[in-house]
Assembly symmetry: C2
Homo-oligomer: 308 residues x 2
Amino acid sequence: MKCRKCAGKAVINMRQYKLALCRDHFLEWVPAQTQRTIDKYQMFQFCERILVAVSGGKDSLSLWDILGRLGYQCDGLYIDLGVGGGIQYSDESQRCAQEFASQRNLNLHVVNIQKDYGETIIAIAERSMRGRDKPCAICGIAKRHIMNRVALEGGYSVLVTGHNLDDEAASLFGNTLNWIPGYLARQWPVLEANRTGLARKAKPLCRLYEREMATYALLRGIRYIYNECPYVEGSKSIYYKELLNKLEEKRPGAKLTFYLSFLQAKENGLFSPYADPDLEELHPCPTCNQPTSAPGQCAFCRMVAHLV
Amino acid sequence: MKCRKCAGKAVINMRQYKLALCRDHFLEWVPAQTQRTIDKYQMFQFCERILVAVSGGKDSLSLWDILGRLGYQCDGLYIDLGVGGGIQYSDESQRCAQEFASQRNLNLHVVNIQKDYGETIIAIAERSMRGRDKPCAICGIAKRHIMNRVALEGGYSVLVTGHNLDDEAASLFGNTLNWIPGYLARQWPVLEANRTGLARKAKPLCRLYEREMATYALLRGIRYIYNECPYVEGSKSIYYKELLNKLEEKRPGAKLTFYLSFLQAKENGLFSPYADPDLEELHPCPTCNQPTSAPGQCAFCRMVAHLV
């Protein structure tokens, strides 16, 4: 297969676009696509300071790499959750994140949950009702809290995450299977910081397939952690991804159409402005001051105070 | 497995409700569920005359049977489309519909497309651009036109079809994969006759699984055509049903939740009133007087006039 642009040897064929590209043109194409997404959804400007949430995986490290190549000013944030499993997941992913940062002379914040809050996320999950079976919900609460805290304390105007199209489509699929109005009303490539105490969040890779991101990381020589978090196994999102992959196999582009037509329909006013019932119910947590919809303390503060 | 109500031998276990029932209790349960659906969505009253669109399959014949047992006044409508295939689909399905009606002394209207319009639906499809590959779109246009005509001419206040939960969930799934605002805004168990020239339409079986309907038909001794229309093979709706069945296998009730939470979200005002862009664009077809959104003649009249 030949590159559409230069007729050189193609390294990837993107069936959904009927587009095959060689190494050099693909490595140009990915940042260009990312820039288009940043522009279309007005995510951020070149003058803004950006905090990249880095897990050590292919998506977040590639995102940091891409934003740097595009000329944005980004620092990284790695959260050491203390996830072991047979593969020492947290240790290995932190090594990848730190190696990436130091090789490029970039600034990486590291937050260690055990050091800052006395316990690993797994220990917190094991003693809580909500996390007993699976630590993912607890882990999500902690990550959201810490990312927001570091973004606000560091004066960053936007927090970016490496969610790719497969992630966003799977999340949309889950929200659609249960038609949860609030989630559907809120899912968007950028969430404005329009409520006091919440940093703006953006997902610049939301239109790039996971497969494209893996190819990008490989071709850029980025060392990342190949394994998924050991607790991801058996999760709903993995199952939704498998179903969407089946659809995609039969109809290349189905995943992209699913996600983009949702965004388009939303832009065209599909949802009523009253679709998000939680919109007005936030108040500041008396302990950490971050906004929360729960009564009294936020879920994170209750969690570290042994109240859940 | 034992019947939840009488501890007799269960004939069906409905995992999504954790409900096993014996023959007699299941045969009571299906009409009771149907009545609940009719009431909840205010489909029709006992005083109204109902036209049941009958294909000869398990769903529509069971629907006619159920509505009769519930005490509604129903006539049937069978449309002979002239579909052969190796199995003489139309002949066999008409035999089932007529046998059902005559055994119960019910009134069945029969419309023969070839007799009334000069050609079978397959012949029309073969000479048209739109139906060349697959006659399904053409067939859908013809059925909708004829069902509406017979309902209006016969003074029926409502036209009912045998769409079951699997049909509705697959249709919703397809509409969701492409987020087509008009389709999502219009999908509902009953469509009011609020536009001149369109009969009210209702789907009283929309909350019953296909499997439940097959069991019902079997236990009631209804002879129906087992084969699907030969042109259904390879259709998107079959594929969507397969995917939803995979979901259901893993999570009993997933299909029901998908459909019912959609209806609930709609009732709660998820969609904006402007979501259906086609709503106001209907006008009467100059030939048949039925409402159409196409400019000039409706799709059906253009089709029989050899204009498509």
